[in-house]
Symmetry: C2
């Protein structure tokens, strides 16, 4: 057997129909954090016809022509796992295209296994139960492949064997081990590294996702010394070239003028379409640098290295990027999913206390909105979280990432309401943040007050009826540290900012409230009068 080619480029899975190319490919792509392409499915998508119909209408030759175009496109595109139609090996051009642009892996299974898997062959125009075609094809697969792998077991087993054979899983922890989570959306899937020291693993992990060896690091100047220097050193150790750009501090980064200057830097440093942009910083840097990555030459690869608790648990996941317009916050933006996120919990140790407490408000929000068990865990571990124990932080960040990833998978573009549940606390929170004057409250602090308002409004409806639920939510909200409600903030002032919210109409607001602990619901018509009463009570009490 030929020695396995070290895996650069695509991984092509070839083999007879029923050898499991699609299932093994899906499992392998998930394992390696790579996108997946099935040439049959792609041919169906391009033509708008099923494979069976393509054969019926255009004949075998017509289908093979289309398939050849699909394979040529895959060979020229970004690195992927590609499941290749069973008959593609009959064309020499396909073999050349595949062998040049990646590693060709043959899936082997005995004909008896294949016959069982295929059944009657519905939708398989070439299925031949006699085994003649199988025997004719096998030498072609053997000749085409760099590596052969037994695929008569489960898809996961075959995927594991392939990853090892190609030298992609040399070290433990393996990519699918704890510490690496996956976010899956309709358009992309990407790994999220969580834990102590994952910063240093960024260049190697990124190197498996791209063939680029030049990157642009964008951060704010305050980070240049510590994590910036460490990340830059890790890139250089791995043989990368790195340019570094800085955004203005605080919300100054999130302006069209800062982005225009960043475009200028990217152009002058000859940043190409394939050059990854690595955004190191809190939510502000992530949003602004992410927007630049989304729109520089119609999108370049983006890596988020979030440095705050808020960014690690929330804003770095899900592909929202954007900047402010003088007339409205976050009015300008784009969806642009990152290719990699690395949430290094070591970075949280040096966060200013107020920043850290503000981030905890969003953690509590996520738990109360979506996961009672997580909320209980938070309460139990509150002390160790406050002391910023690495293990506890990694636990909390992972839980948040998983919950956010599930919401994003269901609702990438924030259309169907699933992501909207994570806006718990944000109706009153946003209005308070704006009415008090931006900068007076940190975002998480305003959200904490918003959570308290949502809690009261939920309880008034008779929700959170279970005493345990109510005690759990109340205890968590009581633990959040916030500045006092501004003494001079009038209802009319707050109301003006509530009314700017597009969710308010005819004296009623759409709000996310809590049916139970861990179960947020969208409520279309909360009366502004009710909000006013609850806010008045909150503002005169020390704690909820």
């Amino acid at each position: 057997m030929k020695p396995p080619t070290p895996s650069k480029g695509n991984i092509y899975l070839i083999g007879f129909m029923g050898s499991g190319k699609t299932r093994v490919g899906t499992a392998l792509a998930r394992r390696l954090g790579l996108p997946f392409l099935d040439t049959d499915a792609e041919a169906e998508r391009i033509s708008g016809r099923s494979v069976a119909r393509l054969f019926r209408e255009g004949g075998k030759a017509g289908f093979r022509r289309l398939e050849q175009r699909v394979i040529a496109a895959a060979a020229a595109g970004p690195i992927r796992v590609v499941a290749v139609g069973g008959g593609a090996v009959t064309r020499a051009a396909n073999l050349r295209a595949m062998r040049r642009s990646g590693t060709v892996v043959r899936l082997r299974a005995p004909f008896s296994v294949i016959r069982r898997r295929i059944g009657k062959g519905a939708g398989r125009p070439l299925w031949d139960a006699s085994g003649v075609l199988f025997r004719r094809r096998e030498p072609l697969y053997r000749k085409a492949a760099h590596v052969a792998v037994d695929a008569s077991g489960t898809p996961e087993a075959a995927a594991r064997i392939i990853a090892c054979r190609l030298g992609l899983e040399r070290r433990s922890p393996a990519p699918s081990a704890p510490g690496e989570l996956m976010v899956r959306t309709g358009s992309h899937s990407y790994p999220v590294l969580v834990g102590s020291g994952v910063l240093d693993a960024v260049p190697a992990r990124l190197g498996r996702l791209t063939s680029a060896r030049r990157a642009v690091l964008v951060s704010d100047a305050r980070l240049a010394g510590g994590p910036g220097r460490r990340l830059a050193a890790a890139f250089r150790r791995s043989g990368w070239k790195l340019s570094a750009a800085f955004l203005p501090g605080a919300e100054g980064a999130k302006s069209l003028s800062a982005i225009a200057r960043l475009y200028g830097f990217l152009l002058r440093s000859r940043t190409e379409r394939t050059t990854p942009l690595v955004a190191l910083g809190g939510g502000t840097v992530g949003d602004a640098a992410g927007f630049a990555a989304a729109t520089y030459y119609r999108g370049i690869p983006l890596v988020h290295v979030p440095t705050t608790l808020l960014a690690q648990t929330d804003s770095a996941i899900g592909g929202k990027t954007g900047v402010n317009h003088p007339l409205a916050k976050n009015a300008v933006g784009a969806f642009h999913q990152p290719v990699l996120v690395a949430a290094d919990t070591d970075l949280l140790a040096s966060l200013p206390d107020r920043e850290f407490q503000s981030g905890l408000a969003e953690v509590v929000k996520t738990a109360l909105a979506l996961d009672r068990d997580f909320a209980e865990g938070l309460l139990e571990r509150w002390g160790s979280l406050q002391s910023r124990s690495g293990a506890e932080l990694a636990w909390a960040v992972s839980r948040c990432v998983r919950l956010k990833a599930a919401a994003v998978a269901e609702d990438e573009r924030d259309l169907s309401g699933r992501r909207e549940l994570l806006n718990l606390g944000h109706t009153v929170g946003h209005a308070l943040e704006a009415a008090a004057g931006f900068g007076r409250f940190r975002h998480g602090e305003a959200v904490a007050w918003g959570l308290r308002a949502a809690f009261r409004l939920s309880a008034e409806r008779g929700w959170l009826a279970d005493p345990g639920d109510r005690a759990l939510a109340s205890a968590l909200l009581g633990r959040l540290r916030t500045p006092a409600w501004p003494a001079r903030l009038s209802w009319s002032h707050l109301n003006r900012h509530l009314a700017l919210d597009k969710k308010v109409r005819d004296g009623r607001s759409v709000m996310i409230l809590l049916r139970r602990a861990g179960k947020a619901v969208r409520v279309p018509g909360v009366a502004l009068g009710d909000i006013r009463r609850v806010v008045a009570r909150l503002s005169t009490e020390a704690r909820p």
Copy 2:
């Protein structure tokens, strides 16, 4: 039977497994120009597991819970055709969600037909060949549906019946008749109306794609009187509210500052995430307004109404949007597919001659790059095209749209080289346009010179060997009207602009050349010396 609900909202297809929900749904979505969702496929995508595995691992109840979330999300999302898993009707919450948010259509087929279609039931965990489950389910489907349709024939036939029954195809020409083409990409599909008078059909067609009844019209001021007034009147006749914004003329529109002002207009006029932005104009307006639509609140629906030959045949199709940066043209942009394109060939009658001739260069480019038959047709009909006959223009625009749509379907993000073939003539064309000073040459005029250079370079390699091919290409290029090559343009000046192209390295350039008429290829290493020689000859001759 209950009367069919007039179709607002989703169209849900229900019925027993094997009744053809996925196939009919795909055909219906294509016919109506709507997106398609299959709840089983969506559940697989979200969970990363096959339906069979979901049943194995989470049981029927686990699967039904996931399915219910998928249906609730579909009910809250944009208007689509939704193929609903066969067992979803067993949950009352699903029935409520579907009936409230659209029309529920039952696909009926005799059990004998279903048994034949299903075969052995591979991947169908609930398949029951005895028919017991079928008989138990049928009353549920009957009760759930607003409309029932026979689905024992072809998917296309069932789709046609549904479209008629729901009153979506009252008038001829039917949506799939000539005059409406479809662009299909991985993320979206959208109709392109081509022909005389389609401008007036925009509001009605758009009304079938969205529930919004407010739109923003963006054009340049020169268009306000003629097509702008006509389009606005059509919208108002159909009961839409319309605001109108104007971009600066010429390339002034394609600047970040013009876009920042447009964002301000959108905010002040309270444009919402669901409000369509209608871009009326040539390529410049389309690119700039398209970029604003791509980035205003992370993307709002975009309608292109291109008014130039160039925009109708090329730039309005394919989702590229963008503006210039002071350091580089088109450096800032995003992919944002429109929801609808309307290419009204009547608008071409009043184009200035130079603009029209410039557009013809891109038409010739498309034909020479991708379709010999089209190139021959162009030559035959050149005279009637020059007299701007409506029928001939509609023919040429449709051919271009079809070819561009196929390239976009294969290569939405311009990654795999298929879209790149449409850059034929652009290497020298771009350099000439920049070196001569922007504004001196129209884009198409510079591309015409670039096509001539590509033609010569191809012939020098012994390509275009067929005398008919060479005569065809030469005749078409000879018919393109261009200003003379600038007398004082030195090679070193042109070379400087060639070298700015990222495709140039080590004295060689990536170029698109012609292997045959209608068959462009990407050539990685064309020596700059060869380009210099060809350009020198071209610049001293009157015609190629």
